[in-house]
C-alpha cells in the first residue's frame, strides 16, 4: 500500500513524543513506590512519628507524579489503534494479550491500593495501609513487566511463540508461555525497573542533599539519603549487570541494532567498543572500512565480541555485512531475505485468490510454499512466512534496512556513561552514609543535587536506543514501520500532535511547578 511518508513521520513523532513524555513519569513511579514502601515499613516497625512524616512527604511527591504517569499511559493504549491501526490488526492477536493482562493483574492493583495508600491513613489499620503501599509498588512494577513483554515481542518476534497465519493474513500467537518468558523481554524488564529504582534513588538523594546544603530539615534529609544511598547502590550496579545481559540479547537477536549502537559498519572478529567517538551518518552499503566511519574514536579492543558474543575473538557483523551478506559467517545478503519475503507475500495473495475461486489444490500449494522451511539449525526452523516482512523492502534502497548510526550510537553511549556515573555516585554516598560523613560532604551533596536530572536523560536515551535502534521495523524483521500506520490524512495526525504537545507542555510545567513548591516547603507543612 502506498503510504503518505510525511504522515508516517508525523505519526512516529507523535508516538515518540508521547512515549518519551510518559517515560518521564514511569521510572519514577517504579522506584518511588518502593522507596515510599521502605519508609513506611520503617515507620511501622519503629512506630516513630518522624518516619511517618518522611513517608508522607515522599508519598506526596509520588502522587503528583503518579497522576501524570497514569494520564499519559492511556494515550499509548489508544494510539496503537488510532495511529497504528494496521499494526494493531496485524499483530493484535499477540500484542493485545499482554496489554489486557496488564490491565487485569497490574492496573487495578495500582489504582485500588493507591486509594488506600493515599487516602487511607486514618481510615484503615496500619497493617492494611502498609500492605497497600507494598501492593501499589508491586502493581506498578507488574505493569512494567507486561508492557515490556509486549515490547519484547516487538524487539524479537520469535517463531517460538508466533506464526504468520495464511488464512487471516496476520501474526497469531502460538505459545503464551514462550512469549512471556522470552529472555529479551525478561532482561528488558529487569533493566527498566532497576533503572527506575536508580532514578528514584538519585532523586531522593539529590533532594535530601539540597536540604542539607541549605541546612534545612537535616534529620529528615539524613534519614532519606541513607535509604536512597542503599537502594541506589544496589540498583545502579544491577542496572549495569543486567544491561550487559541485555546487550548480549540484542547482539544475538537484532544485529542491525547492536551494529548501530556501536557504529560497526563493517563486521570484525574481536570487535571493539568505541568508548568515546563521533560516528558519521553513512549509507552502510557504501562503506568499505570502519576507518571511514569515524570523525574520531577511542576504542577498547575486543570488548564488543566479549560482551556481545561472550568470546574474545568472536565475529560481530556490521551493517554492511547485513546488507551484502557474508558467506564466511553464514550471513545471508539482504537481497536473499527480500526475495524470500516477496515470495511469501506472493503465496499469501495466491492463497486468497485460490480461496475466492474455491480452488483447493492451488490453496494447498500456496500454503505449502508459504510454510516451506528455508533454514534450520540450532533446533530452530525458519519458514518463508517468518521472513514476509522483508518482502516489503524488495526493490528499495538497501540502506533503509538499518537505523541511522549517530542517534543510536549517541543515545546508547550517553546512557551507559551516565549509568557508570550513578554507580560512582552511590558508592561514594553509601560510604559517606556508613561513615556518617554525608552530612558534612559539601562536594558530594552538590554533585548529588546536580545529578537529579541525569537519570531522566539516561532513561530517555535508553528508550531511544531501543526504539530508534529497532527501525525500520515496528516488529523486528516482521512488520515494517512504514506498513504499520493508519491510512489517514496528514492534517488529522498533525492536529492531534499539537493537541498533545500543548497539553504536555502545560501539564509538564504545572507538574514541575507544583513539585518545586512542595520541595521548597519541605516535609513539614508540605500538605
Amino acid at each position: 500500500m502506498a503510504m503518505d511518508m510525511s504522515m508516517l513521520e508525523w505519526a512516529r513523532a507523535q508516538f515518540a513524543m508521547t512515549a518519551l513524555f510518559h517515560f518521564f513519569f514511569v521510572p519514577f513511579t517504579l522506584g518511588m513506590s518502593f522507596i515510599v514502601a521502605f519508609f513506611e515499613t520503617i515507620y511501622v516497625k519503629t512506630g516513630k512519628q518522624e518516619w511517618k512524616e518522611i513517608t508522607q512527604f515522599w508519598q506526596l511527591i509520588f502522587a503528583i507524579n503518579f497522576a501524570l504517569g497514569l494520564s499519559t499511559g492511556i494515550i499509548h493504549e489508544f494510539e496503537f489503534g488510532t495511529n497504528w491501526a494496521t499494526y494493531s490488526w496485524f499483530v493484535g492477536d499477540i500484542f493485545g494479550a499482554p496489554l489486557a493482562v496488564e490491565g487485569i493483574v497490574a492496573f487495578f492493583m495500582e489504582a485500588t491500593f493507591a486509594a488506600i495508600s493515599f487516602f487511607g491513613w486514618k481510615r484503615v489499620s496500619k497493617g492494611v495501609h502498609l500492605a497497600s503501599s507494598w501492593l501499589l509498588a508491586i502493581g506498578s512494577n507488574l505493569s512494567a513487566l507486561w508492557i515490556l513483554i509486549a515490547n519484547g515481542f516487538m524487539q524479537h518476534p520469535s517463531n517460538a511463540f508466533l506464526k504468520v497465519d495464511i488464512d487471516t493474513s496476520r501474526a497469531v500467537m502460538t505459545n503464551f508461555w514462550a512469549l512471556i518468558t522470552q529472555p529479551v523481554a525478561q532482561v528488558k524488564f529487569l533493566h527498566t525497573i532497576s533503572a527506575g529504582y536508580t532514578l528514584a534513588s538519585v532523586f531522593v538523594l539529590g533532594i535530601s542533599a539540597f536540604y542539607l546544603l541549605r541546612g534545612k530539615h537535616v534529620e529528615f534529609a539524613k534519614k532519606s539519603a541513607a535509604v536512597a544511598a542503599a537502594f541506589g547502590l544496589v540498583s545502579s550496579i544491577f542496572v549495569a549487570v543486567i544491561g550487559d545481559d541485555h546487550a548480549y540479547e540484542v547482539t544475538n537477536t537484532q544485529p542491525t541494532k547492536i551494529a548501530a549502537m556501536e557504529g560497526l559498519y563493517v563486521g570484525e572478529k574481536g570487535a571493539g567498543i568505541v568508548a568515546i567517538g563521533i560516528p558519521k551518518n553513512l549509507p552502510a552499503s557504501e562503506v568499505s572500512s570502519n576507518d571511514q566511519a569515524w570523525v574520531f574514536k577511542i576504542e577498547i579492543p575486543h570488548l564488543l565480541s566479549i560482551l556481545g558474543k561472550h568470546s574474545f575473538n568472536a565475529y560481530v557483523p556490521g551493517l554492511k555485512d547485513l546488507i551484502d551478506g557474508n558467506p564466511q559467517y553464514g550471513i545471508w545478503p539482504l537481497s536473499k531475505l527480500e526475495k524470500i519475503g516477496a515470495e511469501a507475500r506472493a503465496d499469501l495473495l495466491a492463497y486468497h485468490e485460490a480461496k475466492a475461486r474455491g480452488d483447493q489444490a492451488a490453496m494447498e500449494k500456496a500454503k505449502n510454499d508459504f510454510y516451506s522451511v528455508v533454514w534450520s539449525g540450532d533446533g530452530v526452523k525458519l519458514t518463508k512466512s517468518d521472513l514476509i516482512g522483508y518482502g516489503f523492502f524488495k526493490g528499495k534502497n538497501p540502506d533503509l534496512i538499518h537505523p541511522p548510526v549517530p542517534p543510536v550510537f549517541f543515545s546508547f553511549h550517553i546512557m551507559v556513561g551516565l549509568g557508570f556515573w550513578f554507580i560512582i555516585l552511590f558508592i561514594w554516598a553509601w560510604i559517606a552514609v556508613v561513615k556518617g560523613s554525608f552530612e558534612n560532604s559539601k562536594l558530594l551533596q552538590q554533585l548529588a543535587v546536580l545529578s537529579v536530572p541525569l537519570p531522566w536523560i539516561a532513561t530517555s536515551f535508553g528508550w531511544m536506543t531501543a526504539e530508534i535502534g529497532r527501525q525500520p521495523w515496528t516488529v523486528f524483521g516482521l512488520l515494517p514501520t512504514a506498513e504499520s500506520a493508519t491510512p489517514i490524512a496528514l492534517a488529522n495526525v498533525q492536529a492531534t500532535f499539537f493537541m498533545f504537545l500543548t497539553a504536555f507542555v502545560i501539564l509538564g510545567i504545572a507538574e514541575l511547578k507544583i513539585l518545586f513548591t512542595v520541595v521548597k516547603h519541605g516535609p513539614k507543612g508540605a500538605h
Binding site: 489508544f78 496503537f80 491501526a85 494496521t86 496489554l99 489486557a100 487485569i104 493507591a114 500467537m173 492531534t496
Partner: protein, 399 residues
C-alpha cells in the same frame, strides 16, 4: 473478492461469545463507574469552598477505578477483538482522540487542582473535569450508538487495510459524522450520548449523596436531589428516543451457522435479540430500568442515601444488555453502512482460538480482582462518609 469468516469452530465460537460477555460486563461496570464523570459536572451545586472540596474528595478517591476500567475495557477489546480495535480506533479517529483527550485532562486535575503552583489555576482544572464529564460521556454514548447505527468504513479483504469514508459534505470527519449524518442514525447516536451523560450525572449526584456526610452538608445534599429530579426528565426523554429506535430500527444481522458469514439487514433485529434466549435480555433490561428508577426515587425524590446501590446495579444490567444485543445472536457489533460485508462480528474480528483460550485462563483473575476492589471499597467506606474534619486534616492527603 468476497471474504469468508474463519472456519466455524465450536470452541472458538464459544470463546468469542464468552469474551463478548466479558466486554459487556466491563461495559456495564464502566457505566456504573461513570458516576465519577457525572459528579464532575456538579461542582456548581457547591456554594462554598468546603462543599466543593467535599465533592472533589469524594470523587477523587474513585476516579482511578473508572479510568482503569476504561483502560481494561480497551485492553480486553484489543486482545479479544483486535480487528475492531484497528477499524474503530483507526477509523473513527476523532471520536476516540477526543475521548482520550478528555480523560488525559481528567487524570491530573484532582491531584493538581488545589495545589499551590499549579500554573493554570483551579478554574482550569475544574473545567477539565467538567469537560471530561460532558464531552467524554456524550462521545462514549454516541460511539456506543454506532454499534447499532453503523459506521462508514470498508477494508481490504486480505490485508484488512482500512478505508474510512467521507461524510455527505465530502469532508472526512473520521467518526464525528456519527453526530451529524442523520441519514445514518445521527439522532440515535446523539440520543445515546445524552442518555449516557444524563445517566452518569444522576449517578454522580446519587454517589455524592451517599458518600458525603448528610448532616454536615444538608444544603448541598438538597441541591443534589434537585439536580437528580431535573436531570431525570432529560434522561426519560433520551431513553424514550433510544428505546423507540432500538425497538423499531432495521438491524444488521448474519447467520452464525452460515460459513459465508454474509451480512444482511433485518427489520426489528434488536427487538428480536431482546426476545432471544427466553427473553432473558428483555427481563434483565426491565429489571435494570426498574432498579435505576427505584434508586432515583429513593435518593432523588426521597431522603435515602442508598439510591446509588439500586441505580448502580440497574445501570450495570442495562449496560450488559446493550452490549449483548449489539453483538450476540448473529449481530455484527460494529456494522458498516458503507460496505455491509465489512461489518465486524465477534466471529470475524476476534483473536485466534489459542489467544482466546489463553485469555480465558487469565480471566479467572477477574473475580479475584473484583473481590479485592470490593474489599478495599468497604475498608475505605466503613469509617463513614466524608466529613469536614477529614477534608481539613493535613494528613488525609485531601485534595
Amino acid at each position: 473478492m468476497t471474504w469468508a469468516p474463519y472456519t466455524v469452530d465450536a470452541t472458538h465460537f464459544y470463546l468469542q461469545v464468552y469474551f463478548w460477555l466479558i466486554v459487556a460486563v466491563l461495559g456495564g461496570l464502566f457505566l456504573l463507574m461513570t458516576f465519577v464523570q457525572g459528579g464532575q459536572t456538579l461542582f456548581h451545586t457547591a456554594k462554598d469552598e468546603t462543599e466543593e472540596r467535599a465533592i472533589l474528595n469524594s470523587l477523587g478517591r474513585k476516579w482511578e477505578l473508572t479510568f482503569t476500567t476504561l483502560v481494561l475495557f480497551g485492553g480486553a477489546l484489543y486482545a479479544a477483538f483486535p480487528l475492531f480495535y484497528s477499524v474503530s480506533f483507526g477509523g473513527a479517529y476523532w471520536v476516540w482522540m477526543l475521548i482520550l483527550f478528555a480523560f488525559v485532562l481528567q487524570a491530573v486535575s484532582y491531584e493538581y487542582m488545589n495545589k499551590p503552583g499549579n500554573l493554570i489555576g483551579k478554574g482550569a482544572y475544574k473545567f477539565f473535569l467538567y469537560f471530561n464529564g460532558v464531552v467524554g460521556m456524550v462521545l462514549i454514548g454516541a460511539a456506543v450508538g454506532t454499534f447499532f447505527t453503523g459506521s462508514n468504513f470498508s477494508y481490504d479483504p486480505i490485508t484488512r487495510v482500512l478505508h474510512w469514508g467521507t461524510a455527505p459534505d465530502g469532508i472526512n470527519l473520521r467518526g464525528l459524522e456519527a453526530a451529524i449524518d442523520f441519514r445514518h442514525g445521527a439522532w440515535f447516536n446523539l440520543a445515546m450520548g445524552v442518555l449516557v451523560f444524563a445517566a452518569a450525572r444522576i449517578l454522580g449526584a446519587l454517589w455524592l449523596i451517599n458518600d458525603i456526610d448528610n448532616n454536615e452538608f444538608p444544603e448541598l445534599i438538597a441541591r443534589l436531589r434537585g439536580v437528580i429530579k431535573r436531570c431525570f426528565v432529560v434522561l426519560l426523554i433520551a431513553l424514550a428516543i433510544v428505546l423507540a429506535g432500538l425497538l423499531t430500527m432495521k438491524g444488521y444481522a448474519y447467520n452464525i451457522h452460515d460459513p459465508s458469514g454474509k451480512i444482511y439487514m433485518e427489520p426489528g433485529k434488536y427487538l428480536h435479540n431482546l426476545l432471544s434466549f427466553g427473553a432473558i435480555p428483555l427481563l434483565l433490561l426491565l429489571t435494570g430500568l426498574v432498579l435505576y428508577v427505584i434508586g432515583v426515587l429513593k435518593s432523588g425524590f426521597g431522603t435515602s442515601t442508598r439510591g446509588i446501590w439500586f441505580s448502580g446495579l440497574g445501570i450495570v444490567l442495562i449496560g450488559i444488555v446493550i452490549f449483548v444485543i449489539a453483538g450476540l445472536f448473529g449481530t455484527p457489533f460494529y456494522p458498516s453502512y458503507a460496505d455491509l460485508q465489512s461489518s465486524l462480528t465477534i466471529q470475524n474480528s476476534s483473536g485466534s482460538k489459542y489467544t482466546l483460550e489463553v485469555m480465558a485462563w487469565v480471566s479467572i483473575a477477574v473475580p479475584f480482582v473484583l473481590g479485592y476492589i470490593i474489599w478495599v471499597w468497604y475498608q475505605m467506606k466503613k469509617a463513614g462518609p466524608i466529613t469536614k474534619e477529614e477534608i481539613a486534616d493535613p494528613e488525609s492527603h485531601a485534595y
